[in-house]
Symmetry: D2
Subunit: 263 residues, 4 copies
């Protein structure tokens, strides 16, 4: 099974990149399933029912989230709808709206389990992702998914790499999101788990991690609050393609994706 996993889709430029490239990549690589992190899809901060639906209409099968999942209030009831295809990190407190994992199926019925996690180092005080991921894996296996992909939405390279090794051999892929910068360490770990510290952002690269660069520089220079707006130019789609074996639940290969939107 070939899975295209896309990093944080940032504002309108990110959504445009998804709409432009996903159908092309599906055709070119024989992609079976597409997953994208949507936490920045609404104006660079949060996700709304509209931006979620827009991405799902663009041949994306499942959306994940992160620390910005909660920025737009109107997404909470959307997350609670039966069959909702937008996840939020699984390690929020019990009772949090929405789901932290799901099984997606290819048209011919092959299953992939997906877990969305959020790291804790330099981030929020959440439940232990190393504990929660084991519970979610068990749930997904019980639901018939032999192959599992983990979106590790996380700041620190240490926490992401630790999760990769922790799950090596147990899941098909541990793929990082959140830093918005793709890393050059994609590989299949010794146990058979595809790993990359961060797949990078889908959005404007002439920016500071998506945001208009002058505004972020101003915030660093003044240390005072500055209102952020998305950048606009040099838009890229970034992610990774994982080829995994849905019977053994292991990865055959992982390949980074970087595609520039024509201007």
């Amino acid at each position: 099974m070939k899975v295209l996993f896309l990093g944080d889709v940032f504002a309108k430029p990110g959504r445009q990149a998804v709409k432009h490239f996903v159908p092309k990549l599906i055709g070119r690589h024989g992609i079976d399933l597409v997953i994208a992190n949507a936490e920045n899809s609404s104006g660079g901060n949060g996700v709304t029912p509209d931006t979620a639906d827009e991405l799902l209409a663009a041949e994306v099968n499942l959306l994940t989230g992160g620390n910005h999942s909660w920025s737009k209030r109107e997404i909470l009831p959307y997350m609670e709808r039966p069959g909702c295809r937008l996840l939020r990190p699984a390690n929020y407190p019990k009772g949090t709206p929405g789901q932290g994992s799901a099984v997606v199926e290819t048209p011919d019925g092959r299953k992939l389990g997906v877990v969305n996690l959020e790291g804790r180092v330099f981030m929020r005080n959440l439940d232990d992702p190393f504990v929660v991921v084991k519970e979610e894996i068990a749930k997904l296996r019980a639901a018939g998914a032999k192959a599992i992909l983990v979106d590790m939405h996380c700041e620190a390279t240490s926490e992401k790499n630790a999760m990769g090794h922790f799950l090596d051999g147990e899941v098909a892929a541990v793929l990082g999101t959140h830093t918005h910068i793709q890393t050059a360490d994609a590989r299949v770990l010794p146990g058979g788990t595809a790993y990359i510290t961060d797949v990078g952002m889908c959005g404007p690269w002439d920016s500071v991690i998506g945001v208009k660069k002058e505004l972020v520089v101003q915030r660093f220079l003044t240390q005072r609050p500055v209102s952020f707006e998305p950048g606009k130019r040099d838009v890229w789609l970034q992610g990774a393609i994982v080829d995994l074996d849905e019977v053994t639940g292991k990865a055959r290969s992982i390949e980074r994706v970087q595609e520039k939107l024509p201007e």
Copy 2:
């Protein structure tokens, strides 16, 4: 001028990778100057006179540092020696031992100014790197360096990218270190500054950012202190080669380097 810049050299495996590859890369690419970040060169934590000298003997022209520069006490007097070729971040408080910038010269007398900075987001409470870098640039220009390379030792992708855009057109290169994971965003920014968020580590990749992976996983699982040891296997040299024009002070190109040490 072609400059090979190497990321955090981690423990003995990292030093071996430097000794093995630097002479080869100099020959293969026509490298004029080699710079390496040495903050983890001693056992993965800190730098000693011995590990600094070992790297400088391996055709490295200048060493930089970071938050781990201070872990081994015996390095302080070394940093104070006249002509010392080991920098520490420039934005430590006034009176800090050592230097935060230096001019290095090719055998035929072409000059490169180098500034070492440390970020503040998720790190120490240091002086403002955005202010200090301007002062250091002025000093280096006064010392005759038209081209300047900045080692931005820093955790957050936002702070590193902001520094890149802040200095775009003013220096030849802003190259990140500290996260130990190479990023896939090397490019020349619109103003002519070569940029990469992190050049990655020289060290054992079968690890969590250099450290034996089981130990780091154990620390995440227990949240208690765990003594760290360096990893050993799958050793890589990582860095970037910047081709810069020492007359205009701008970059022509930047290319990532990843070389695996034969086992």
Copy 3:
């Protein structure tokens, strides 16, 4: 000279406590000057021209600020007016609107220098308060102030206590703000500096540090964003009275103040 120093004035309840008690305390204790931290005076978050003027009309002679000084944009031009009696922390970057220190005078011409600082541990990446305070002290001495009072707006008890000892004998008082909880460690340090880690908040105590308690508990339980509103009941004025010698610049005594607003 007797100085009444009041901690973070929180929203309308805090302003009411100031208006109710300040005239009484001036009379009861023979207060010469009143200083209050205004960073939470507007709705619990920030300070506006109106809330600043309201406090200054209530016989407060000078206002200080903190990390929340910047929450309301309309305060920036107010801070720039000549003779403005609202300070902001001195250790923001050069070019920050407003002043970080000032000299206030009693009606009979006795002078007190006031410095406003913000800590860095667990807070923003500001200039070094230990360096900046020395520069501000020199300025205030040059302006004729022999006695100096420092508002150390700061989270960590270690950083506040370190500042107290660092300035012991050099200033008349180092008084902490920001945690909103008064500490029971008011004393004159060996060198003659009055010290307290935090003078506490002027505001509703039936709250979590000023905010409606149910809302803060909800944020801890959910780890999701929650809009905050000020608490309302159990309103207290909190601060300290420092008796200082304006000739020697040392403190004679410090006394905690806690006064409950009649309901």
Copy 4:
């Protein structure tokens, strides 16, 4: 039932204060049970079998811990002994050595449940103290304890105050430790829970939160590692006396304790 609760016992001076004052306070106030936080009892950093036993021999009935509980390795097997009277925070991961709660009994058989928690804001990535405390309360109730005392070892005033209100009416006392500075907010909350944000340290006050003051100031000034040693002079015992009703499980009163060791 009258309970004397003592804050972080810091190094030898702290232990001396405990030995000097505890018998006196038991007599003077008719104390039924004594509890002390021991996380700094060994040299200011950690707790050893020797320092734990020394405190337990000084009429202390139960010891609690915090983020420093793990600094000395030899304490781990001690924590695992049956009947061990040294707790560690309850919200460490499952499988952590030792216990996070216990029932202590007066000589005449009246029971008090004690829970030790550690906050997460600005601290470690632990399990949710708001969830764990409910589980521990249920365990203690099942073991026959109607009155429960919580040691909330925690940095942020917001998290401590939120815990106080969260448990108001459900436990007899929520008493803070960790900042080493006593707060002046001891009171019985509306629901009947005795509360104080921090009871303060037992140790040398001529220090920065226990540590030799010159060393801490040096660390702030240099931002480099500095080896810490305990302060020596101006030694105080600090804590609180809670009078609680072991039948209703509510508090009648709380009173701060500050006693200076004769020099």
